[in-house]
């Protein structure tokens, strides 16, 4: 069974107060994500990839189309608070800007406490909960001593993004939606974040959707790549066929424009 089925998803934004303008941000997008699958939505800014992610995360209501997660229609069947909480437990987001994901007035472990409160079997006492937090931090290669009690401005961007993944180790979600998770951190810590997400997939069978403009990243991690352009999916396939043998003219342009390390562009 597919973990996530997106069918004919469309989002139209209405702009203006008197004279209305309509922007079709996502047009008739359909795709599936299987268990243990890593899927990338690739496209430039304005291609509708983040809008798609927000609809999957149940943050933005689609104009038409359906999203089924584990067989449930997330926009029509999640009516009571309990089922919604369950959805939040099973679907986790990692956003682009780790600086915006934390409240600067609270210590960073607050985001981890929030995850603990979401758990189905909440730990009976505080000591157990702290153990759980420490374990999750170890999992992502952080020393709890360096993190606990610190405020967001005292830790680096890479550490913040790791803590977001530590949350995933507490909740063990079925699906992670990662929106440009590595674009705001140094190249040298980027590899670490990717490895952590891959490890989560290996050990827990988590499915991951990467939303990214970086075709290099998508090529490296994904099982399936969807290329988006102006709200539509223009090409889909496994990384080797999309990147090494693109068929759509836009993908060709994109692949041809990306500088490569081992090949020199001939037409410069």
């Amino acid at each position: 069974m597919s973990r996530l089925v997106v069918k004919n998803l469309t989002k139209i934004f209405t702009l203006g107060f008197f004279s209305k303008r309509y922007v079709e941000a996502v047009k008739n997008v359909s795709f599936e994500v299987k268990e243990r699958e890593i899927v990338s939505l690739v496209g430039e800014s304005g291609s509708g990839k983040t809008t798609t992610a927000r609809m999957i995360l149940r943050l933005l209501r689609p104009t038409s189309g359906t999203i089924h997660f584990e067989g449930t229609d997330i926009w029509n069947d999640l009516n009571d608070k309990e089922s919604l909480k369950d959805f939040r437990r099973k679907v986790h987001a990692v956003f682009q800007d780790p600086f915006a994901s934390y409240n600067p007035f609270y210590p960073v472990e607050r985001t981890l406490w929030q995850a603990i409160n979401l758990l189905e079997n909440t730990p009976s006492n505080k000591k157990e909960a702290i153990e759980l937090i420490k374990e999750s931090l170890f999992r992502v290669g952080l020393d709890p001593k360096d993190i606990l009690g610190k405020y967001p401005h005292q830790i680096s961007g890479g550490q913040k993004q790791r803590i977001m993944i530590a949350r995933c180790w507490i909740l063990r979600p079925l699906l992670i939606v990662a929106d440009e998770p590595t674009s705001m951190i140094d190249a040298s810590s980027r590899g670490g974040i990717i490895k952590l997400l891959e490890e989560l997939r290996e050990k827990e069978g988590t499915s991951i959707i990467f939303i990214t403009h970086d075709l290099g990243l998508a090529y490296y991690v994904s099982d399936t790549i969807y290329v988006m352009k102006n709200g539509e999916i223009v090409e889909r396939g496994d990384p080797d066929s999309v990147v090494l043998n693109p068929s759509h003219s836009y993908t060709k342009l994109l692949v041809g424009s990306i500088p490569k390390l081992y090949r020199k562009m001939e037409d410069i």
């Binding site: 190249a187 040298s188 998508a218 490296y220 424009s257 081992y262």
Partner: protein, 330 residues
């Protein structure tokens, strides 16, 4: 020595603060030849941008030149520009002999000043005829693929890629021999990046600029146009090498780590896997003793902590600062 355009000897430039100094450029020696493209690569905070300021003698406090010399070839003879003050260098050489496209130059354009005015400013500051210079700019706009009517527009009417091309057109109008571009492509999307690289190379091919120094953190971009590469780490050059040899066989462990952290859509990269360099770059107020890379280096030896490795030539044209290669010299 004949075809050297710029020569730097043991350059040291620190940011002198009240109690401490940040050693952003610490003992760099290199030369830039005529008719070549040199890439300067390193992580954020390794002193790349400071180096571009030093080359231009753009010493604005707290940045101070502590030692070293810079020679620039002007009309066939070498001028020691490090002996002059910032204002003298600015008046004599900026724009005419050397020009820079600073980081995010495209965002530095004042939205309420027409592109044309920038050319007029340039003419005024160099005592040239504005009318003539504008005609020249129109020609240059065509060469970089911009419509000539854009010269009469305001910067906010142009897209990011167009603004960047407008900046390069205006900054090279006096045919300087050296062009320094500091992260020119990092704010552009990949399609515009490629267009920009094409413009850079066409300027060089036409002989408008002789040599280009491209400062960036993105090795894959530099790789497309550079002949040689300078790898910087914590204010020092760790490796200087022709590009193909460097990619084939990186000598310094830092270069190797840097290459292995690059993710490009290529089968080689997938096969290699992604490797990261542990730790973070050091604080340049109090850099590590000996080799500055030793705390992060996988091949660390005792000597690395105590002594600083000199930058030595171990193969023709290839220089590296690492004790791993010390044995090969003797």
């Amino acid at each position: 020595m004949e075809n050297v355009l710029l020569k730097a000897e043991n350059l040291r430039a620190y940011y002198k603060l009240e109690k401490v100094s940040v050693k952003a450029v610490d003992g760099l020696s290199f030369e830039i030849y005529e008719d070549e493209v040199v890439g300067v690569v390193g992580e954020s905070g390794c002193g790349k941008t400071t180096l571009s300021n030093v080359i231009f003698m753009n010493m604005v406090k707290p940045l101070t030149l502590v030692g070293g010399k810079i020679f620039l070839k002007v009309n066939g003879s070498f001028e020691e520009i490090s002996a002059l003050s910032r204002d003298e260098v600015k008046e004599k050489f900026w724009g005419k002999e050397m020009t820079i496209i600073p980081q995010s130059a495209m965002n530095a354009l004042m939205p309420t000043i027409k592109m044309e005015r920038y050319v007029q400013h340039l003419a005024e500051s160099h005592g040239l005829d504005a009318r003539e210079l504008i005609d020249k700019t129109l020609q240059r706009f065509k060469e970089v693929g911009l419509e000539t009517s854009w010269l009469k527009r305001y910067p906010f009417e142009l897209s990011g890629g167009m603004r960047q091309r407008a900046v390069i057109a205006v900054s090279t109008i006096l045919n300087p021999s050296l062009l320094v571009a500091d992260e020119p492509t990092s704010a552009l999307d990949v399609v515009n990046q490629k267009v920009f690289l094409k413009v850079l190379m066409s300027l060089k091919r036409r002989g408008i600029v002789k040599s280009i120094i491209l400062i960036t953190h993105d090795i894959a971009t530099v790789r497309q146009i550079a002949d040689r590469m300078i790898i910087m780490y914590a204010g020092k050059i760790v490796e200087l090498s022709p590009i193909d040899e460097l990619l084939e066989k990186p000598l310094h462990p830092y270069t190797e780590g840097l290459l292995n952290s690059v993710l490009t859509p290529e089968p080689e990269v997938k096969k290699r896997g992604i490797v990261t360099i542990p730790g973070a770059p050091p604080n340049l107020i109090d850099p590590p003793s000996g080799c500055r890379f030793h705390p992060r280096c996988p091949h660390m030896m005792d000597v690395c902590k105590e002594k600083e490795p000199p930058l030595v030539e171990i193969e023709p044209g290839r220089r590296v600062a690492c004790f791993l290669y010390a044995g090969e010299r003797t």
